[in-house]
Subunit: 226 residues, 2 copies
Amino acid sequence: MEVKVVRDIMKINDNVAASNHEMLAGRGIVTLNLVSSPGAGKTSLLEKTLEILKGEIAVGVVEGDVNTSHDAEKIAAHDVPVVQVNTGGPAGGSCHLDAGMVKEGLAALELDGLQLLFIENVGNLICTASYKLGEDRKVTFVSVTEGEDKPVKYPLIFRNADAIVITKTDLIPHLDFDMEKLYGHIREVNPEAPVIECSARTGEGMDTWIAYIRQTSEDVRAKRGD
Amino acid sequence: MEVKVVRDIMKINDNVAASNHEMLAGRGIVTLNLVSSPGAGKTSLLEKTLEILKGEIAVGVVEGDVNTSHDAEKIAAHDVPVVQVNTGGPAGGSCHLDAGMVKEGLAALELDGLQLLFIENVGNLICTASYKLGEDRKVTFVSVTEGEDKPVKYPLIFRNADAIVITKTDLIPHLDFDMEKLYGHIREVNPEAPVIECSARTGEGMDTWIAYIRQTSEDVRAKRGD
């Protein structure tokens, strides 16, 4: 009797991710996968982003968290389609979204008319680096309060990033923080991705982040021939 | 032909953890497993702790990181025995220490004469909650910059904690942060663990943290009959 062994769990994930991507692209939706440590400020930045893009781009959100629907509730208050995917379980839960979870989430989301989809991943700098979800771009967030060395301590998630967003820049005056050192560490692992500095709290740098979203949407659509 | 399937990877881990614990306890060493998000300030707090305990308690450190030996180098500068365990690999690496990795790390550490061992885990609020390493106590760190909701979003690591340390309290005046809300969320998942507030930067609250370490060492030793 032959025993079949599934050897490549990542290959299976990549196939589901490709099918998610095909479905989303077929609907003309541009998708960004947002990854970071817990508490790096992704949700706050997303809320500001929704305020700014309101009336210009039709946005939907998939919220990934181990537990609670706090983030989805915050997003829903901005009157955009949102679905919460909880990865938790009694043994601790999954530390990342995978393509299958996103597929389930998308089945519960109203996609008609959407132009842009944000997938806010579970807060984790390690395993989220390895799982494609069906996105057009992966954006890694790092807050200034985490220190300058995260890119070299968690290299894959910074290497795989199409863009890197440095958050909470309003706190720099209150920290022992060296921005040049952070850039040096980013460039060690990722020499080319655009780096955006911003603060959701003061609004500083939000224009650069929004410009990145607009440009990325155009680039992805142009390449697809939409 | 029978195909054997390893069903309970956690059970295997727990067995190795129990053996680590037996070895450490046999040498009279009290062990703390320190867990948090990336950048919550564990290493900075540990450095301050080593300064204060110098000449009083003989401390050793196991440093867990995906990549780099930055933290071990910082600790080594304090002239204490330290070993770096890197969990990284081309596919991203392991997002947590397991008992087997700690066992290997301990084999490379000079244990003679040590009284207290800190294991600084990989920065991750999810999988680090599930893997016992051989510690007497697990301490979960959360920085005020991460917001108030981490205990309910990542419940297991706060539920499993023997103590919870709130770090970077010097930054509170510069944040939209509500300490009472954080306590509320902590108590939702863990009604009893001591909660310690401190700042490695200003030294505020360090006396409470050091008192916890002294008391814990005494309690563990008394229970063991050392």
